[in-house]
Amino acid sequence: MKYTVMINEGPYQHQSADTALQFVRAALAKGHEIYRVFFYHDGVNNGTCLSVPPSDDRQIQKEWSELAKEHELDLVICIAAAQRRGIMDESEAKRQGMDAHNIADGFRISGLGQLIEGGIQADRTIVFGD
């Protein structure tokens, strides 16, 4: 079965960022396809590479990047939500005149249309958030 997953919560709000990651892992383990993971609202904070949790803490951002690499996941960050929260890729940082960018490996920035298209293409759309 084909899934699109929407995540509306950052890694340091409550539990949904963890729940979503574990759900995606379990779905992949069962042989399902993850068509897209769409990060919206504070969920975009899952996609920064400048977060440095203590080494014995959970490493959500890193785990998404590793899972994306392993399974060729399409991790999409909403551009408007990202701009508000200071998440940028190289071209967006350039366009905004910023001297740094911080999007984590395996993530890309795009628009809400990607969520709609994900919902159309997938058999199931599951929402995680606070």
Binding site: Q15, T19, R124, D130
Partner: protein, 102 residues
């Protein structure tokens, strides 16, 4: 067309769980995750409401989240099925639609 309702808020803190019970249809399934898992415990002010819903709906609880809150499975309402993440995935596959009560 059965629907899976995913609830992640404690019924003792927010009204989302109660709203879910008011909207869910006969034959639907309800899965408690995160803070909602405390709603599975028997003998609370909420348990009669959930038991009434169980007459025509299947109710599940995510075992890991229940255990993480110090609740053992022998304290939950009879008839609630305990699932793991693989069971969570199966529920989303078995139900054509999913509603998250955030």
């Amino acid at each position: 067309m059965a629907m899976l309702h995913i609830v992640n808020k404690s019924p003792f803190e927010r009204v989302a769980f109660e709203s879910c019970l008011g909207h869910a249809s006969e034959g639907d399934s309800i899965l408690m995750i995160e803070d909602a898992t405390v709603g599975a415990v028997d003998g609370t002010v909420f348990s009669d409401l959930l038991k009434a819903a169980m007459a025509d709906k299947a109710v599940y609880v995510l075992g890991g989240d229940l255990a993480a809150r110090g609740m053992s499975e022998d304290r939950i309402i009879d008839g609630i099925k305990v699932v793991d993440y693989a069971g969570f995935v199966d529920l989303t596959a078995d139900n054509e639609k999913t509603q998250s009560w955030l």
